[in-house]
Symmetry: C2
Subunit: 442 residues, 2 copies
């Protein structure tokens, strides 16, 4: 029985159950054949990837559609070819790298992540899942394992800006959103073209429910609970819903020296009260909901001019969509009250919304079993961060794996996950993928 | 007695007193010789000047050292030559346009203003005084009047950024300040070179106390009191002191979805509390002091990242320097307290300081007499705005004339002063200049 037949043996019932079974036990049956990723190579690839858009102070600024993004994608394409994958760029600008399965009639299993970053972000968010997915494919190639299902390693474009690549595939991206301006300065439409997508054929990137057998994504936790509680693997229960708005506060610009304090319509003073109100309202009820004002600009923006306008953002997250709506209602009511205080007005424009996305219960079971195979501790937990996996959850069974983030730091240069934890995550991804591939209902 | 001798007749005592006298009465003595500016031409020049850096929504963005600034200066140089002035650019980048006097031994009288603007500023701030000064010179040329003193019409560079041109002349500009980055993106040093100044000879632009006979500046009020109380002319009693700081709030950037509310070091939340504290502290004591936060930026500046750093400005103004210092002490103490609340720190770096500058009492008397000559109402008042006149006040007797600003709006596209009010101001400038020229102690 060669390695190529390993998967077939599992599927053929040589083992009592691929769900309850342990690859520890499997390796007893197959000798030393239970596959493992090359952890050193995986971490070396992560280090190499971190060159693209490197910040002077560490981490990366690899905004979607930037030159750094494009260069990093070229690097990724090379790794994919080394891993015997066949990469293409779909019409939405995602990189899709295929590997044939044994059973041509089956739908593909997708797995992957993203490589774009926030401004001054870290080296792990997205990158760990992307490099691990390629490493899993290379491991399969080197060990001569062919799965039942075709496999597709996916690098989604512009995750950080709002899951644009994955939402194009799930059919959630609206034509209007193509005109949104991304942090790179390019519109989404311009960005897709820049990455090699094809706006004329955008619909061809869409997939329907049933087109995909399943989706798996490995990611860093981006919070501090796994590290704090010494848990190796997080099994994502669901991804929180997110709503983002652009908030425009309009007052009246005037000379800061000649306009008495009681005759000002200072948009920044109103915005400051708003920022504090968001914090107060979000923390006024129990739960894990969060609210953030992350961006702010005062116009015209001179030290000696009273700001006439302020543009800022508001973001609310929770696993419960209704709770987000209740918080938003409270915040807008308070904004109206604040505006009345100094003759300013507030306007809210929704930037985007991600509905809460539960993961697939079978996937959670497979991930838990894979962790057990590797003698790793695991915990079922929510994801406070949005992920491309939530778009895929609308099309297929979705499973998501977390590895610890040191000190819970993310979206910052100091973001860090230990090499050993990353290797654990990649091995869980590999084994969960093989288990899912062979599961009777997949 | 020709027009050329008009001034000499005043000085020679043909009239009882140039201070108490009225040019209305003078015109009785000299027929219709009492000079008046060409108001239509003055307002036409103002309209023409407003093309340079015009905003789509009205007003101008004519940042010092921008292309619009340079083009506007070229336009001004043409007007000066039309007015028979001899313009030069001093080593600090100021435009100095000379007109000989009768008495070669006398020091020059300077008068003028600036033409740079704040971002999205108006068409009147600085421009009214600049165009009026040239109009006064052209009126003198056309009427064949030669003053005792040489005259110099001055267009100061970069008033809005911090009186850079006039402070170079008064010796208040420090070498370190040359590296400050202006709103145009250029450093002050680069800007001076861009405008045709000469950094190697910067000291040659300096003037000592006694090098200048006197300084006069016409300006819009930039506040609403003259218009509200139906006063034609403001006689500036003094210019408030101004201190500006850059305030850096340092927290910790982190993922907005995975970082619980109680574990954040949100620099923008602290900055918001700071903005409100500035307003609260400045308004907590009686008086006309003002405090403004005009510029703010949160870093890294993405909707889904908790701001790790905020950079904003603080500006305080009052006629009493000690009051500014007391307010500042209260604000910094409160900032420390705010920082303690959520684990952030505040750092203050002074951007620049203008000490309060009283005007010359004789100048105030001459301006009042000139207003009376023209049957205009006037009022002695402070200037809440900073002006190049305050740098000149350290070198010579300084006088400053205000005309009404409609609704007190300034540093904004809706800034407006009525054409008739501007002509009144220019005529007061003309007559006050002639009175000062002939005054025995000038």
């Amino acid at each position: 029985m060669n390695r190529r037949e390993f998967g077939a043996a599992v599927a053929g019932g040589l083992l009592s159950s691929p769900f309850a079974g342990s690859l520890g036990r499997l390796s007893g049956v197959f000798g030393l054949t239970a596959p493992r990723v090359d952890g050193a190579r995986l971490n070396r690839h992560l280090t190499e990837l971190s060159r693209f858009g490197a910040n002077p102070q560490g981490g990366v600024t690899r905004l979607a559609y930037s030159d750094a993004d494009k260069q990093a994608r070229e690097y990724v394409l090379g790794l994919m070819r080394d891993a015997k994958l066949t990469p293409t760029i779909d019409a939405a600008g995602n990189i899709i790298a295929s590997r044939p399965g044994r059973d041509a009639g089956r739908k593909p299993i997708l797995f992957g992540s993203h490589i774009d970053s926030v401004p001054e972000g870290g080296n792990y968010d997205g990158n760990v899942g992307s490099m691990s997915a390629i490493e899993v494919a290379q491991t399969l190639a080197e060990q001569g394992i062919t799965t039942r299902h075709p496999l597709q390693v996916v690098i989604w474009q512009n995750e950080e800006g709002g899951l644009y690549g994955s939402r194009a595939v799930s059919g959630q991206l609206t034509p209007e959103e193509l005109q949104n301006v991304s942090r790179s300065g390019k519109t989404i439409a311009e960005g897709i073209t820049f990455l090699g997508g094809d706006l004329q054929r955008l619909a061809s990137a869409r997939r329907a429910k049933g087109d995909i057998a399943g989706y798996l994504e490995l990611h860093i936790e981006q919070g501090g609970t796994l590290e704090r509680d010494h848990i190796d693997i997080g099994i994502v229960e669901g991804i929180v819903g997110i709503k983002q708005w652009e908030v425009t506060v309009t007052g009246f610009a005037n000379h800061a020296g000649t306009t008495p304090m009681d005759q000002r319509h200072d948009a920044l003073l109103a915005a400051a009260r708003f920022v504090e109100a968001v914090n107060r309202i979000v923390t006024s009820v129990p739960g894990r909901q969060v609210g953030t004002v992350g961006r702010i600009q005062a116009l015209p923006g001179a030290p000696n001019v009273i700001p006439g306008q302020v543009v800022c953002t508001l973001e609310l997250r929770d696993l419960d969509a209704a709770k987000i709506d209740t918080l938003y209602a409270g915040i807008t009511a308070e904004a109206t009250r604040i505006g009345r205080q100094n003759g300013t007005t507030f306007a809210f424009r929704m930037l985007h919304e991600n509905v809460p996305a539960p993961s697939d219960s079978r996937m959670r079971g497979l991930i838990a079993a894979a962790a057990r195979d590797l003698s790793l501790t695991s915990r079922v937990m929510p994801s406070g961060a949005g992920h491309d996996a939530q778009a895929m959850a609308t099309l297929a069974p979705m499973g998501m794996i977390f590895v610890p983030s040191v000190a819970g730091i993310s979206h910052a240069p100091k973001e860090f996950s230990k090499p050993a934890d990353i290797v654990n995550g990649a091995n869980v991804l590999l084994l969960a993928l093989l288990r899912f591939d062979e599961s009777p209902r997949s």
